[in-house]
């Protein structure tokens, strides 16, 4: 897989000096001609972007971004990173990015306001429990009885209501750090995240916490899939979709996933 990444890098390097050829799909469709502007979160975090430095190409989303850019004919140097919030992404008016990539789940409602690429990752939902609740069995019945929390801006909120249907009120927070604080204060037992984020939080942020189980990616009403976000009607979408299709077919996407996203098969499925 490193070989493929290296290959992509080499092809980038080869094209670094040439302007975007006229025949290319993205020609005339980016904000700045010849440049590909990608927005990520502020901060962007592991395992999506390593060390909050997307320019390094390290981390799952950073790697996918460079690979897609290369596939579309952009040199690594022509990729420009900007930071953006979810609100900026969905507000009306001109955008400061060509694509925005920060684990946005594709939903039909969101799709009415913005455009999404085809998915680049299918995220199973996982249950992160606080240090005091690590011996909770990975069954739905046991999970219902827990005191649940979540990040209010994620699709995990609706998944929680769909799949788990907790007995008590759910407490919601602004970001992962606050979920962490609530777990430390023993105000919540469990929170729902996409599996990579859950693994990251338990390993790095919330001491003593544990990912006790995952739901199959197709649990609930619809699949939780990440897509790159465009301004509604952006013609660049087809170019990105084409690039992703090629990468899916030739296994490049899977290789990147295998390199940056931890092996998740060790996390038991919740029954």
């Amino acid at each position: 897989m490193t070989r493929i990444f290296a290959l992509a890098a080499v092809s980038c390097a080869l094209m670094a000096t040439t302007a975007l050829a006229d025949g290319h799909c993205a020609a005339g469709k980016t904000m700045t001609e010849g440049k590909f502007t990608i927005a990520t979160g502020n901060p962007a975090y592991y395992p999506w972007v390593m060390d909050d430095a997307p320019e390094s190409g390290k981390g799952f989303e950073a790697a996918v971004a460079y690979a897609v850019a290369a596939e579309m004919g952009f040199a690594a140097d022509d990729v420009i990173w900007v930071r953006s919030s979810f609100d900026e992404a969905i507000q009306p008016g001109a955008k400061n990015f060509d694509v925005n990539m920060q684990q946005y789940s594709i939903t039909p409602e969101r799709d009415e306001v913005v455009d999404f690429s085809t998915p680049y990752y299918s995220a199973p939902m996982a249950v992160l429990v606080s240090p005091g609740a690590t011996d909770t069995p990975a069954t739905l019945a046991a999970l219902k009885a827990l005191k649940w929390g979540g990040v209010g801006s994620t699709t995990a909120v609706s998944k929680l209501a769909d799949i788990v249907q907790p007995d008590g009120d759910v407490l919601l927070y602004g970001d992962n750090a606050d979920v962490n604080a609530a777990m430390s204060a023993n105000q919540i037992d469990a929170a729902l995240f996409d599996l990579p984020t859950a693994l990251f939080l338990s390993a790095v942020m919330i001491e003593g916490s544990k990912v006790i189980g995952q739901f199959p990616a197709d649990a609930g009403d619809d699949l939780d899939q990440f897509g790159m976000l465009f301004e509604e009607g952006n013609p660049l979408k087809t170019c990105v979709d084409d690039a992703l299709a090629v990468m899916t077919d030739n296994g490049a996407l899977a290789a990147i996933e295998a390199e940056w996203l931890q092996d998740t098969t060790g996390v038991p499925l919740i029954k």
């Binding site: 507000q91 306001v113 209010g152 407490l171 204060a185």
Partner: protein
């Protein structure tokens, strides 16, 4: 002759009537112009359609409104138990700061430090520190509830402000009232309770009413530590639907409550002034 035609109105009354009609005409006309400008011109702006779709989306509003109303009950609940606590604590702190007896000196210092600290720190910080911090010390459920400690953060912050307003109210009562009351043989306590405070409290009703309205809005800060009140609920909808209309819905619900509250406060004040003429 002029009197007959005006149906018994005096010259002056006729003039004033005419003036009144004139000014209401002007007021109506200018209001109309402003409204027309808003209704006609704003939609003519190039980005209007998109703005309308993401901020004033009827379908989204209809979908989110019932749940927003539901969430607003949490705001009302938190408000309902915080406001009386704030009034009582604010008054106690105001009295502590004005305490003259040397035995109460520590209380005075405490009162001063309290108001300095809680007025100096942004509310959201206090909400975080108390809402996550104190439960983090290891309190068992349900005593570590964010509702309890978040409300306490609001109560502490707001009573610091409310105390200062009460103090200003106490200062606004002329010292001759104190002299007169003392000369009748009332004790310092009685003077405060029966003579100074009633006047002080009445003098600060409008300012305190403003504090209540501000509190009503700041209850939403508790959403940062977990409770899914209207602001958080609107945020959830925003993320889910990629649309800002739920925030507009929340704003409408806030206004439905605060506008009558403001009007009522004004009315109370006006009635009081009238009665006392």
């Amino acid at each position: 002759m002029a009197n007959d035609e005006a149906g018994g109105l005096s010259r002056r009354e006729r003039y004033e009537k005419q003036q009144r009609r004139r000014s209401s005409l002007i007021a109506a006309a200018s209001t109309l112009i402003v409204l027309v400008a808003l209704v006609v011109l704003v939609p003519m702006a190039p980005g209007w359609e998109k703005v309308q779709k993401s901020f004033f989306n009827g379908a989204v509003l209809a979908k989110s409104f019932p749940k927003l109303l539901d969430a607003f009950k949490i705001n009302l609940m938190i408000f309902a138990w915080s406001a009386p606590a704030i009034a009582v604590l604010g008054l106690l702190i105001a009295l502590a700061r004005d305490a003259k007896s040397p035995a109460l000196f520590p209380l005075r210092i405490f009162g001063a430090a309290f108001t300095d600290v809680f007025r100096g720190v942004p509310v959201i910080l206090t909400v975080y520190l108390i809402g996550f911090g104190i439960p983090g010390l290891g309190l068992p459920r349900p005593w570590n509830s964010p509702y309890i400690w978040g409300s306490l953060a609001l109560i502490l912050t707001y009573s610091a402000y409310v105390a200062e307003i009460f103090r200003a109210g106490i200062d606004s009562v002329h010292h001759s009232q104190r002299s007169a009351a003392l000369s009748l043989g009332l004790s310092e306590r009685q003077v405060m309770r029966d003579v100074i405070l009633p006047q002080a409290v009445r003098n600060v009703v409008p300012s305190q009413m403003n504090m209540l309205i501000a509190l009503q809005k700041d209850v939403s800060l508790l959403s940062f530590i977990g409770p899914v009140e209207i602001f958080r609920q609107a945020g959830v909808f925003k993320s889910l639907l990629a649309n800002f209309t739920p925030y507009v819905g929340a704003a409408i619900i806030f206004l439905i409550v605060t506008i009558p509250a403001t009007r009522y406060a004004d009315y109370l004040m006006a009635r009081q002034t009238r009665e006392r003429r």
